[in-house]
């Protein structure tokens, strides 16, 4: 896999966006579909020479000089985790395009063009190996999403779009300051002999990972705070989550799908890629604080879901709750927690994305999402109801479907405490949290089951209720072939990942283990002997995901 292939994964949607803007409006949706499908083809072809035996290494890495004066390079590279997330992004591309066919009838060119730009930017975030390139892509996702929400959203869309933009912009500019501090630290405070790339002005993420881990605990803590502000807003973590329900509720269906499917993962991916390896000591020191915020998010957002009448808002709040598990697994810093988190990023993208699609389909027919006006749709829309129940089950975490595996692993990771309690036989590295954290987070699963099943019970089963004077428009009562085609691939993946997650878990196991190892090796006073007392091998000098 070459860096050119990775760059072309960004280039194809970007070029398609230009084509959409230039072509007549009639063709917009077709060009967008061809562009997103072509991106998948490029991805699959490039995947041909991906070396599966080294999933932890940065493959396809390389790049070009961009602004050497600032140290900026156009450099890319992916490990298996970035690979999975890019895969998710590519998969959701055509799904969003096809799903928008009937919902978007005005200003179609603008819509599809920005959708494609969004895909290019998201791919760039996962592929970037240069700090500022990462930041540019991370920030640039804001503009398309801002436009999608404020042009194609529902009534309160402008407020929602502005709030979304301002929250994320504020957070990420602080995160940038923190990350630039690491750059400066690497350039001025480290001797060139410390490791390759030390003592020079570089924005290479691999080098900076090394540099960050060499900072003192107090420096790491400040950088951690700055980064968590940026990535925490994106995740979103309590108490900076308030933009999300609003944005989700107002966004058009495809916007919600991408928001839940990929954009929120930029936050958790940022935590995985930057917070964990750059500030290992501070993270372990403060993991319980972040975990408490995550658990508050899980339970608090879950309780809010319970009282929602708007189905879309309910699913939006459930995202806050679900992403709490993801963060919990990340800050537990051990094999199960990290694997669970990475898997959760994929699973949540699939099942919540599908739920938003389903809600969008009902909304197109009834023009309402109010649970008081909708009920017993199973008799009217059997196919829709089947999918609905299926994805609700996946979201709740029914064993056998995808949500269960990742949720369980996250809780397992959280269960392992630093003292070693509950650690026996559960992996090589200790955890930062403990049974109490797992216990409280576990109640979130129960709450999730309550509100999701309660919602399903009202909307799908029971007595038929339809809003008065509704008209289904051009759409038939139940799902069309197009809509089934949109949902089916997601459903198949949910079953596959639920029944047989082993291939994916195997692929992420190596980078995740290296990541956890890295963090525990870089604790203050962690000598090889100390590390051995934690049951890990001597520290290696390669940051996780380094080396071709």
């Amino acid at each position: 896999m070459s860096p050119i292939a990775l760059l072309s994964l960004m280039f194809v949607p970007a070029a398609s966006a230009v084509a959409v803007a230039a072509a007549p409006a009639k063709l917009a949706r077709h060009i967008a579909l061809v562009g997103t499908l072509f991106a998948i083809v490029v991805g699959l072809v490039a995947l041909g020479d991906y070396d599966w035996s080294r999933p932890g290494a940065m493959q396809a890495s390389g790049g070009f000089e961009w602004l050497p004066e600032l140290g900026l390079r156009l450099s890319v590279g992916i490990d298996s985790i970035a690979l999975l997330l890019i895969g998710l992004t590519l998969l959701l591309g055509p799904i969003c395009v096809v799903a928008s066919r009937t919902a978007i009838t005005e200003r179609v060119k603008t819509y599809y063009a920005w959708l494609l730009v969004l895909q290019a930017a998201m791919t760039g975030v996962f592929a970037a190996r240069d700090l500022v390139l990462f930041y540019i892509c991370f920030e640039f996702t804001l503009i398309p999403m801002f436009i999608l929400i404020s042009l194609y959203g529902s009534t309160n869309r402008k407020h929602a779009a502005t709030k979304f933009f301002l929250y994320t912009f504020t957070g990420s500019i602080i995160a940038l300051a923190g990350l630039l501090y690491v750059v400066w630290f690497n350039a001025t405070k480290l001797l060139p002999t410390a490791f390759a790339g030390a003592g020079t002005w570089t924005l290479d993420i691999g080098v900076l990972t090394h540099a960050g881990a060499s900072m003192s605990l107090s420096e790491q803590s400040w950088v951690l705070a700055a980064m968590m502000l940026g990535f925490g807003v994106k995740v979103p973590l309590f108490p900076v989550h308030t933009w999300l329900p609003l944005a989700h509720t107002e966004a058009p269906t495809a916007g919600s799908v991408i928001l839940a499917g990929v954009l929120l993962k930029l936050g958790t991916y940022g935590i995985y890629r930057f917070v964990l390896p750059m500030t290992p000591a501070a993270l372990v020191e403060h993991a319980h604080l972040i975990a408490v915020l995550a658990i508050i998010g899980i339970i608090y957002a879950g309780l809010i879901c319970w009282v929602q009448r708007d189905v879309k808002k309910l699913v939006a709040y459930s995202s806050v709750s679900h992403l709490g598990f993801c963060v919990l697994g990340l800050v537990a810093v051990n094999g199960p927690g990290l694997s669970g988190s990475v898997l959760y990023m994929i699973n949540h993208g699939l099942s919540t994305g599908a739920l938003f699609l389903l809600i969008g389909m009902v909304y197109e027919r009834y023009h309402t999402r109010d649970m008081d006006e909708l009920g017993g749709l199973a008799s009217k829309m059997p196919i829709w109801s089947t999918f609905m129940v299926f994805f609700v089950m996946a979201s709740v975490g029914l064993p056998g479907l995808n949500g269960f595996v990742s949720e369980f692993l996250c809780l397992l990771g959280a269960f392992q405490s630093p003292s070693g309690l509950g650690r026996e036989g559960l992996g090589a590295t200790p955890g930062t949290l403990g049974p109490w954290f797992a216990g409280f987070a576990g109640t979130g699963m129960i709450v999730a089951a309550i509100y999701l099943l309660y919602m399903t019970g009202r909307v799908v089963f029971g007595q038929l209720k339809e809003p008065r004077g509704h008209h289904a428009g051009p759409l038939p009562t139940d799902l069309t072939v197009r809509e089934i085609a949109v949902l089916s691939p997601i459903a198949v993946l949910c079953v596959l990942l639920g029944l047989y997650p082993k291939p994916v878990l195997d692929v992420v196991a190596e980078p995740v283990a290296a990541q956890a190892q890295w963090v525990w090796d870089h604790q203050p006073g962690a000598t090889p002997a100390h590390a051995e007392s934690h049951g890990v091998a001597a520290p290696n000098d390669e940051p996780p995901g380094e080396g071709e």
Partner: protein, 537 residues
């Protein structure tokens, strides 16, 4: 002084063109009158090209400044000049053309307007060549004096006259303050030569109180030019009262002159103090720090409350000065490389700000209210609604320029802001950098509105008329293109900015002090006598 002539060649060329414009502008022939703007542009072009080939004197306070700054000034100046077409004499030229009125040199303003514009640019270029307090003072005043007149005659409304008067009196106050500061600096070090002052400061080993007070007064006075707290009060009123092209000029020319002056003044104490030996003396750093924080915060917060596009841009221009002060405080840094060099960052930011800011003002200058008896600029925020669909070129200019001014990646403003961030961090000014970050976030509120109104809102009624002067829209389009493209390929410019900010070596300083020793003293005496005969304004 003969050895200075090659350095001053761009200014001399500009002065020649200024005289030509002044004479030709009152010609009886319409075509010649109309050619004045083109002649002025041609002069700027030549001055810029010559400037890029001019080398500063070895041992000057900032020897590399000229080949970067003079072409940059000419480039932004050309853009502003494009925007200025039709600013004066619009009604009277119409009447002369139709024969309703005979040509009267007294009644037309074209000659004054364009020649004063060139005078002001000449002053700005002189600032970059300055190596002496007297010279710096004269250059600063040459930059500002013509702008007072330009503000006043830029429109026929009383608002312009009020703005002109306000601008003039506060400008005179500012000039008086910094001249007093200059006098104290002279008094405490015995020289007006910047490098000689530096030598005196180094020899004394400490900053004496009189020098500190002199520097502070000079900084406060010059803060009028850059529209920084505490001398920022005029900004919004003057920018609003003047015609938009003149406001665009005010946002760049005096600001750049002010920053050149501040940087040159601070080279007299140098960024060689503090615990690490790479910061300003605390007596200067602390007030500058407060000034930077107040300037960006006041500018951004007040910009939130405005309903006039020009006032928003005026307050944001205050905020941008605050950002640049961060680079000034950071100084040339402890290591090579632009990322550590706050002065280089300021120089690049000035150019970037000049390029992208013209576009925002060009939008206001290109739109005229429908139902006005006299041509009136449509500078209400509501008048920007839906411009991307009704007036696509103007609308997109606003969108791109305001996103770039916000510092949104990958626009020019972002690449300009990154070195400010990194140099601030490098100088250990972490709180200042965090405040800079938070201020950028506050700025997102109003820049996002400036971008969203044309792009996403629907127009209330019929869109504003387009100004008949197509060059204004061209200036805007060039500015928007710069905002998008220049940043992506900015490596050469960034490199030039870094080289421009290179501090002279110790050896060069000593050599110069020796060579210019006794001879210099005499000329200083003459200069100080000259300054006594001169009134501040």
């Amino acid at each position: 002084m003969k050895e200075k002539l090659p350095i001053l060649l761009p200014e001399i060329i500009l002065f020649g063109f200024t005289c030509a414009v002044m004479v030709l502008g009152v010609s009886k022939t319409l075509r010649i009158r109309q050619a004045t703007a083109s002649i002025a542009g041609f002069g700027l072009l030549i001055a810029g090209i010559v400037g890029s080939m001019t080398q500063g004197e070895v041992g000057a306070p900032l020897p590399g400044l000229i080949p970067f700054a003079k072409p940059a000034i000419a480039a932004v100046g050309l853009l502003v000049l494009l925007l200025m077409s039709g600013s004066v004499d619009r009604a009277i030229e119409g009447r002369i053309k139709s024969g309703a009125e005979a040509f009267d040199a007294i009644k037309t303003n074209r000659a004054e307007f364009y020649s004063f514009f060139l005078f002001s640019i000449t002053g700005l270029m002189l600032c970059t060549s300055a190596d002496d307090l007297i010279w710096l003072f004269l250059a600063l005043e040459l930059t500002s004096l013509p702008t007072y007149v330009m503000v006043t005659i830029s429109t026929r409304g009383t608002a312009s006259q009020e703005a002109g008067v306000k601008y003039f009196f506060l400008g005179a106050l500012g000039a008086a303050i910094f001249l007093y500061g200059f006098a104290l600096i002279y008094g405490s070090t015995g020289s007006t030569d910047l490098v000689a002052i530096r030598s005196a400061v180094d020899a004394a080993g400490a900053i004496n109180p009189m020098l500190a007070i002199g520097l502070l007064l000079a900084l406060v006075g010059v803060s009028f030019k850059i529209a920084a707290v505490p001398m920022h009060f005029y900004t919004a009123d003057v920018y609003q009262g003047a015609a938009a092209p003149v406001s665009a000029m005010l946002a760049f020319v005096p600001k750049a002159a002010g920053f050149f002056a501040i940087i040159l003044l601070l080279t007299t104490v140098g960024w060689t103090h503090g615990p690490g030996g790479h910061s300003l003396p605390e007596a200067v750093r602390a007030p500058l720090w407060v000034m930077a924080v107040l300037t960006m915060t006041v500018g951004n917060v007040l910009a939130l409350l405005q309903s006039s596009t020009k006032r928003v841009l005026a307050y944001s221009s205050i905020a941008h000065s605050g950002y640049m002060l961060v680079g000034v405080i950071a100084g040339p840094g402890s290591r090579p490389g632009l990322a550590h060099n706050g002065i280089g960052a300021v120089l690049f930011y000035l150019l970037a700000y000049g390029l992208m800011n013209v576009g925002a003002f060009a939008v206001v200058a290109s739109l005229e209210r429908r139902d006005a008896a006299e041509p009136t600029e449509a500078d209400d925020l509501d008048e920007l609604r839906g411009l991307c669909s009704t007036r696509p070129l103007v609308g997109w200019t606003m969108v791109l320029c305001s996103l770039s001014l916000l510092g949104f990646p990958p626009a020019l403003g972002f690449f300009a802001k990154v070195p400010l961030f990194t140099s601030g961090i490098g100088a250990g000014e972490l709180p200042l950098v965090i405040i800079l970050g938070l201020n950028s976030a506050i700025a997102a509120f109003y820049y996002l509105r400036l971008a969203a109104l044309p792009l996403l809102e629907k127009a209330d009624g019929p869109p504003p008329n387009l100004s008949p002067f197509v060059t204004r829209r061209i200036a805007g389009a060039i500015s928007a293109a710069c905002a998008v493209l220049v940043g992506i390929g900015a490596n050469t410019l960034l490199k030039n900015a870094r080289q421009a900010a290179a501090m002279p070596t110790e050896a060069a300083n000593r050599a110069r002090a020796l060579a210019a020793g006794p001879d210099r003293q005499v000329s200083d005496d003459q200069a100080s006598r000259a300054s006594i005969q001169m009134s501040p304004d």
